[in-house]
């Protein structure tokens, strides 16, 4: 099947409209879309309304060729735009100081993908409930939003991660955010939150007004930038690469663009911004309280030392299930020799876990688990 047969006429029409072409309604009786553009005098785009027209693919190809020539692009790039006409797009372009950089560490590439997922989740959660920190990003609607997102072809010449989100993919109602336009679909609202949060954050860094941003976000005033969004962004920075990232937002042509927004806008995060963003992340999470509870956990790592009494004790890494049952958290704990022995047994036994009562502190993972009151081995 040819690529052009996969492009519905309404998508071609919507794309052209987004480029400034105006539909002539009079041609509809001939089952044709006819479009004109004040920028291109006497030029018209003419193509069938019906995909069943025997020359539909040819007609699409002809229109694509004409658009490409008028826009000074290649037909392939016009096709690429057409297949994403119903999607809001987010692109992440990594630049490094070395112009001849031909590869990125695989771990960093993986971190970028995780960061992109986290950014989308954080934006969706902010649409649902604006707050400085989302204790969990696993809300059903946010997860659905992530499920609809698609990983697009990258472009040659630089490291670009393209993600597109079908703008009509979800029908979720949630209260309007401050200054938000009415009636935008959920996906568009999440993309707008992402875009505005990025701009707000970068402007605050560049105008040295991060304190104000943290303050208003904590109070829930205006557009709230979340710690989760900041954490996601830090995944795009690599200290050894000293890389920057350009995040491009492209609005779906199928629905009207947000007011005063260009078709494509780019927010650049320079490599020296990443430590600032990490500070903001920490500040926004500072209000988080510790959790004192009994946690089921698996033992991930044993790092204890041999004591004078020939018994091993000390640091272990546990994977705890939080009380709400939604999040697995890696935490560091200091165990006595007896507790350490149980941890060792749990670590070495298939299906075994521990139940630990203590205080889980906020912060980046692995978090700290202190004041351990009990430590029991549980074997299924």
């Amino acid at each position: 099947m040819n690529l052009e047969t996969l492009i519905p006429p309404t998508d071609l029409r919507d794309y052209a409209k987004d480029q400034g072409w105006v539909l002539l309604k009079e041609a509809a009786k001939d089952r044709l879309y006819v479009m004109t553009n004040p920028r291109f005098e006497r030029r018209q785009l003419v193509f069938p309304m019906d995909t069943s027209a025997p020359d539909y693919a040819e007609a699409v190809m002809l229109v694509v060729d004409k658009l490409a020539a008028m826009e000074g692009r290649t037909p392939q790039s016009v096709f690429d735009s057409l297949v994403e006409v119903g999607d809001d797009g987010v692109s992440f372009r990594v630049t490094t100081p070395r112009p001849d950089e031909r590869a990125l560490p695989l771990g960093f590439a993986s971190s970028m993908i995780t960061g992109a997922q986290q950014l989308l989740l954080a934006s969706a959660c902010t649409v649902l409930k604006p707050q400085a920190h989302h204790p969990r990003l696993s809300r059903t609607e946010a997860q659905q939003f992530l499920d609809t997102a698609r990983f697009r072809h990258t472009r040659p010449g630089s490291f670009i991660l393209n993600v597109s989100c079908p703008v009509q993919a979800m029908d979720v109602q949630s209260p309007l955010l401050p200054d938000e336009e009415v009636d935008a679909p959920f996906v568009r609202r999440a993309t707008m939150v992402l875009h505005r949060s990025l701009r707000k954050l970068v402007t605050a860094i560049e105008t040295d007004s991060l304190d104000g941003l943290v303050d208003t976000s904590r109070k829930g005033e205006g557009l709230v930038v979340s710690s989760n969004l900041c954490e996601a962004l830090t995944r795009f920075g690599d200290e050894s690469l000293k890389n920057s990232v350009e995040i491009g937002i492209k609005w779906a042509a199928a629905i009207p663009r947000p007011r005063d927004e260009p078709r494509m806008s780019v927010v650049r995060i320079q490599h020296d911004y990443f430590p600032r963003i990490e500070e903001v992340r920490r500040e926004l999470r500072a209000k988080e309280q510790h959790i004192e509870d009994v946690f089921p956990a698996t033992v991930e790592r044993l790092d204890g030392e041999m004591g004078d009494d020939a018994k091993r004790s000390g640091e272990v890494i546990l994977r705890l299930l939080t009380p709400d049952g939604d999040e697995l958290v890696r935490a560091r704990a200091n165990l006595t020799a007896d507790q350490y022995e149980l941890a060792d047994k749990a670590h070495m036994t298939d299906g075994a876990f521990v139940k630990v009562a203590g205080k889980l502190h906020p912060g980046r993972q692995p978090r700290q688990l202190s004041d351990i009151k009990s430590f029991d081995l549980m074997i299924k």
Binding site: E26, R43, F47, P54, Y56, E58, L62
Partner: protein, 179 residues
């Protein structure tokens, strides 16, 4: 690239004729690509017309299947007769539901290759001329070849082409007369 055979030269001259007439009529002419060739399209013309009303197109495309022959055409007084080989080529031209008009253009060249093109300080003359016909609505054939009637009145000239573009801008598709 290889040396041109005589049929290659006939074909090249037909493209030159097409480009010359289209240019004189103020139209763009582009040779067909491989994809279009598979659909029986050798070239594509685009005409721009003055604005009349919102119902009338100002940009009209015409797809051309181009032939050249040195055979002396038979005629019936009104039409030249041209044998078109290949049912698929014929059927590509006869559909009534396509959105972009297609025409057959046949360039008749003198039998003697020395007569094809004359050049002097005064003129560049390509001898004889081409005729066009729309096969829209022509009866279906299943194989072999078919004789096409090319009206002598439909000389492929700048004026004739402009007149055709005007009709197409009003969505008036010329159809093949039942002979």
């Amino acid at each position: 690239m290889r040396p041109l055979s005589l049929p290659n030269i006939e074909s090249e001259l037909s493209y030159a004729y097409l480009h010359a007439v289209a240019s004189r009529a103020g139209m763009a002419c582009r040779d067909g690509n491989r994809h279009e060739d598979g659909n029986g399209v050798d070239a594509q013309l685009t005409a721009w017309l003055p604005y009349v009303d919102a119902k009338t197109l100002t940009e009209v495309d015409i797809k051309v299947q181009l032939k050249a022959t040195i055979a002396e055409p038979a005629e019936d007084g009104q039409n030249y007769r041209f044998r078109l080989n290949g049912a698929s080529r014929y059927n590509d031209l006869r559909s009534e539901t396509i959105s972009v008009a297609r025409i057959l253009v046949v360039l008749f060249l003198p039998r003697d290759a020395a007569e094809w093109l004359h050049h002097s300080p005064d003129q560049l003359a390509l001898r004889k001329c081409a005729y066009w016909e729309s096969l829209r609505g022509a009866p279906e054939i299943t194989g072999g070849s078919v004789v096409i009637h090319l009206p002598k009145a439909q000389v492929f000239s700048p004026d004739g082409l402009t007149e055709l573009a005007g009709k197409l801008s009003r969505r008036e598709f010329p159809t093949y007369p039942v002979v």
